[in-house]
C-alpha cells in the first residue's frame, strides 16, 4: 500500500512531467507508448483482418490458423525480441514485429469466429437473393459478426499495449522505461509508477473501445439482448488480458 502511494506520488511529481536534461517527461513516454501501439496495431489489423475474413467466409484454413496462433502464443516474447534485435538491429522494427506476432492471434480468432457466428440460413438466403460473395461479406457477415470481430480487436489492443513495455529493455522508451530503469536503480516508487501508468493507460483505452463498441454495433443487438449476450460469451474475456498485462508489467 505504501509503495502504491509512493508510486502515485512519483507520478504526481510535477518535474516528472517536464522534459529536461537527463529526463524525459511522462507525457513523452506515453506518446512513445501510443506510437508503438498504434503502428503495431495497424500492421496487425492489415494482416489479421483480411486473413480472418477469408477464413471466416470460406470456412477454409481454420485449422492452420489455430495451429499457427497457438505456436506463436508459445513463443517466449522476450527471447524472440532478443533474436530479432540480433538479426535486424535495435529499433522500432524488431519491437513492432514482436507486437504484431502477439496481436495477430486474438484479432484473427475474433474475425473468423465473428463470421462463423453468423447464422448459415441468413447467409444462404442472402446468396439466394443474388448477393455477390463480397456483398455477403460486407453487408451480412461483417455487420452480424461485428461484436466478436471488435472483441478480437480489443483483445489485440490490450495485448499490444501491455507488451510495448518490452521496448524499454532495449532503451526504446515507452512506459516500460520506468520499470526497467527503476529496477536497475532499485527505485521502487518509479517502478510502481510505471506499472500504474501502463495499467491505467490500458484500462482507459479498453474503456474507450467499449464505449465505441456500444455505438457502432448494428441495430439488431440494441434491439435484442439475447444476441448481444451470446456474442459476448464467445469473445476473449478482457479480464484475462489485463492479467497478462500485470504479469508483463512486473
Amino acid at each position: 500500500m505504501n509503495l502504491i502511494l509512493q508510486g502515485l506520488a512519483w507520478i504526481f511529481t510535477p518535474s516528472h512531467w517536464v522534459t529536461s536534461v537527463g529526463n524525459v517527461s511522462i507525457s513523452t513516454r506515453i506518446g512513445e507508448h501510443f506510437y508503438y501501439t498504434g503502428v503495431s496495431l495497424l500492421v496487425t489489423v492489415l494482416i489479421a483482418v483480411p486473413i480472418g475474413l477469408a477464413i471466416g467466409h470460406t470456412g477454409k484454413g481454420r485449422g492452420i490458423a489455430i495451429v499457427l496462433s497457438n505456436a506463436s502464443r508459445a513463443l517466449p516474447t522476450l527471447g524472440l525480441l532478443a533474436v530479432l534485435i540480433l538479426g535486424v538491429g535495435i529499433g522500432l522494427l524488431p519491437v513492432a514485429i514482436v507486437l504484431v506476432i502477439l496481436g495477430i492471434p486474438p484479432l484473427l480468432a475474433g474475425v473468423y469466429s465473428g463470421l462463423e457466428s453468423v447464422d448459415r440460413q441468413t447467409i444462404d438466403a442472402a446468396r439466394a437473393m443474388g448477393m455477390t460473395e463480397l456483398q455477403i461479406l460486407v453487408k451480412v457477415e461483417i455487420p452480424l459478426g461485428f461484436e466478436l470481430i471488435f472483441g478480437g480487436f480489443r483483445a489485440a489492443t490490450l495485448q499490444i499495449i501491455a507488451t510495448v513495455t518490452l521496448a524499454a529493455y532495449y532503451s526504446l522508451g515507452g512506459l516500460g522505461h520506468y520499470l526497467v530503469f527503476g529496477l536497475a536503480q532499485n527505485d521502487y516508487p518509479q517502478m510502481v509508477a510505471g506499472a500504474i501508468l501502463v495499467i491505467v493507460l490500458a484500462l482507459a483505452v479498453d474503456g474507450i473501445l467499449a464505449v465505441i463498441q456500444r455505438f457502432v454495433v448494428p441495430g439488431v443487438s440494441r434491439g435484442t439482448t439475447r444476441q448481444r449476450r451470446t456474442a459476448r460469451g464467445g469473445a476473449i474475456p478482457p479480464v484475462a488480458q489485463s492479467r497478462t498485462l500485470i504479469k508483463e508489467g512486473q
Binding site: T122, D124, A125, A126, R127, A128, T132, K139, G219
Partner: protein, 299 residues
C-alpha cells in the same frame, strides 16, 4: 417454362440426391413438389436458381440453360422464399423487402416506397415496416419473406416449405392469400411441401416425389385423386386409408345437415345441396338441409 433434362446431383460427401431427373414445369402455373422428407425436393428446387449446381444434366428456363449465364443475375431475377424466413436480422422490415432493389442500385427512398406497396400486397400493416425481423411473429416474417421475393417482380417464384413453421390457422390464411396473389400476379410458382393437402389446395400441377428424386406421379390434383398411378401414390395421398373416399353418413347431424364421412367413418364435412344430382327427396331431412345451405350461402 422450366425444364430439367436428365439432371443428377451428387454431393461432395457422395450422397446422390437426384439421379437422371427430368421434368417440365409449365409457365404461369402453380406447381407443387410434394414428397416425404429427404426425397430431394429442395435440391431440385435450388437447381433452378443455381443454389445447387447439378453434377450433370441441364436446367433450362424458357429454353435457356441457366448454367451459361451469371448466377448472381439469375438469382436476382427469381424470387425465393424459404422455411425460416431468412431475413437479415440487422435490417428493418422495410429494408429487408427492398434488399434486391438496393443491390441493383435503386435508391433508398424509391426502394422503401415500393416496399411499402409490397407490404400491403402481402397483407402486412405499415406500422411494422420499421421493426426488426426478430420483433415479428413467424407468420409475419413469412409474409415479409414473400414481399421480399416479389420485390423485383420476378417471373418465377420458388417457395420451399414457406408455411412449414406457422400454426395451422395462420397457414390456412397464408395459403388463401398466396392463391389470390398467384391469380393476381400470374407468376410461375414452384412450391415445395410435404403436406399433401396443401399440395392439392394450392397446386394446379402437382408432382409427387419418391426417395431419390423419382417422380411417382404428376398431374392436376383431380387427375391424381381420380387415378393414383401406384400403391405408393395411393398411400401418399391417403386413398388407401379411405381418407379420400367420402360418403354420406347414415347418422345425420342434429341440425339435420347431411354429414360426410371418410372411409374410416371420421366426419369430413357437410354437403352443399345446390347440386341437382343430390336434388330434393333424398329423405325426410332434405328440406332442412337445403334451408341450412341457403343460410350458409347468404352468410
Amino acid at each position: 417454362m422450366i425444364e430439367f433434362r436428365n439432371v443428377t446431383k451428387q454431393f461432395p460427401d457422395g450422397t446422390v440426391a437426384v439421379d437422371g431427373f427430368s421434368l417440365v414445369i409449365p409457365s404461369r402455373q402453380f406447381t407443387v413438389f410434394v414428397g416425404s422428407s429427404g426425397c430431394g425436393k429442395t435440391t431440385i428446387l435450388r437447381m433452378i436458381n443455381r443454389m445447387v449446381e447439378p453434377t450433370s444434366g441441364q436446367v433450362l428456363i424458357d429454353d435457356h440453360d441457366v448454367a451459361t449465364g451469371d448466377a448472381v443475375r439469375l438469382r436476382r431475377s427469381i424470387g425465393y422464399v424459404m422455411q425460416q424466413s431468412g431475413l437479415l436480422p440487422h435490417r428493418r422490415v422495410i429494408d429487408n423487402v427492398a434488399t434486391v432493389p438496393y443491390l441493383t442500385g435503386v435508391s433508398k427512398k424509391k426502394g422503401r416506397q415500393e416496399a411499402f406497396g409490397l407490404l400491403r400486397t402481402v397483407g402486412l400493416d405499415e406500422s411494422l415496416a420499421y421493426r426488426y425481423p426478430a420483433q415479428l411473429s413467424g407468420g409475419q416474417q413469412q409474409r415479409v419473406g414473400v414481399a421480399r421475393a416479389l420485390a423485383v417482380d420476378p417471373n418465377i417464384l420458388l417457395m420451399d416449405e414457406p408455411f412449414g413453421a406457422v400454426d395451422p390457422l395462420v397457414r390456412a390464411e397464408l395459403q388463401t392469400e398466396l392463391l389470390r396473389l398467384q391469380r393476381d400476379l400470374d407468376k410461375t410458382v414452384v412450391f415445395v411441401t410435404h403436406d399433401i393437402d396443401e399440395a392439392f389446395l394450392l397446386g394446379q400441377h402437382v408432382v409427387i416425389f419418391q426417395k431419390g428424386g423419382i417422380i411417382a406421379q404428376q398431374g392436376s390434383p383431380a387427375e391424381i385423386l381420380a387415378n393414383p398411378a401406384s400403391d405408393f401414390v395411393a398411400s401418399f395421398i391417403g386413398a388407401d386409408r379411405g381418407k379420400r373416399r367420402l360418403r354420406v353418413s347414415d347418422i345425420a347431424a342434429d341440425n339435420g345437415e347431411l354429414l360426410l364421412v371418410d372411409g374410416n367413418g371420421h366426419p369430413a364435412g357437410v354437403i352443399e345441396t345446390d347440386d341437382p344430382r343430390l336434388g330434393a327427396g333424398t329423405g325426410p331431412k332434405s328440406r332442412s338441409v337445403s334451408n341450412k345451405t341457403d343460410q350458409a350461402g347468404d352468410a
